[in-house]
Symmetry: C2
Subunit: 200 residues, 2 copies
């Protein structure tokens, strides 16, 4: 697809090209599509961007996204306040909520410790997590960071801070995924599945 010489067109296409999963050609296809939309339709998209940015902010308790003062989970009286599930990102909250198995609260770290990328413990919301544990309500913290090296490092770093408080710290099980094939499992997953093998 050729570069269009129209400046506002290229500026629009370049903005779309910056979004995840959208390349040069798709960005231009979308830009053309936007120009061909009936009156008012493109404005719905630009309006939704502005609205989402204005209304959505972090919950001051758990740092999940919300458009209310506190997020729906933190303000729900039926949630179990004795368990906090620690996740890397607000995206993980929706995934765990969709599972419909966990009834506790969350704490969004907003990243993982990664000295290579310049992310140190102080850049994450670890201090805020520790503050939430001080009043004795929380009996268990479930570390649900990703099963990556950085995720594991972050989980064990936080775990060491929490244990002296006498609070139970757990970690999501790792192993072969449901429907997973041993032949195609990587070595680390397989080794963990062996080490954590269960009696039948």
């Amino acid at each position: 697809m050729a570069k269009n010489t129209l400046v506002p067109f290229e500026r629009l296409a370049e903005q779309f090209e910056r979004l995840p999963g959208i390349g040069y050609r798709s960005a231009r296809r979308i830009a053309y599509y936007i120009l061909s939309l009936p009156e008012g339709e493109a404005e719905k998209l630009s309006g939704a961007i502005v609205e989402a940015r204005e209304k959505i902010h972090h919950c001051p308790v758990c740092y999940n996204l919300t458009d209310m003062e506190k997020c729906g989970i933190c303000s729900d009286p039926d949630r179990d306040r004795s368990v906090i599930c620690v996740v890397e990102s607000f995206r993980d909250v929706s995934v765990i909520e969709a599972m419909d198995e966990f009834s506790g609260l969350y704490h969004v770290l907003d990243g993982v410790i990664s000295p290579m990328k310049g992310v140190l413990p102080d850049n994450l919301r670890i201090k805020e997590l520790m503050d939430r544990l001080r009043d004795g309500t929380v009996k268990e913290v479930v570390m649900a960071t990703n099963a990556t090296i950085e995720g594991e490092t972050t989980a064990s770093y936080i775990s060491k801070l929490i244990k002296p408080l006498g609070i139970r710290v757990t970690r999501l099980a790792t192993g072969i995924p449901a429907g997973g094939n041993i032949e195609y499992s990587d070595e680390i997953t397989l080794a963990r599945a062996f080490n954590l093998r269960l009696d039948m």
Copy 2:
């Protein structure tokens, strides 16, 4: 990926889902990305949408897109005013311009005749094309509609209107594309390539 219960989030994701090539999951990934952008960055995207929609309009002569009074091609004194290339869409103009072989003017029909989809000759800019041919400047009209049934029908419909004016009407050649493989050519392309075979 789970449905997020935040209304402004879902509204944003749904707007992205309507764009070409963006599905349910990508739309949500983009919506999360937009919420994580630093201050001012998401506003560049919404601003580019509003700007493109406000500034870009159809050239009143050829119906190509422009942000000036007349488009850059129609107002360029070096273009050959004796040839008009008729295309279905403004997207085709950039593709032909990128080829850098054609120095004439364009006429954007804004579609093809398709009774099935309710597009009749009156819905296209055919009358406007005929008006451009009346003063005798144009000596040739190149039909560059797509090589589809609808594109061919539209080309031959317009050709029949133009020929009585004594203006030459030509059609882009059809055949096996450059680098194309006979084994993988469809029957219609192959039949045309045979019928239009050239002496070597």
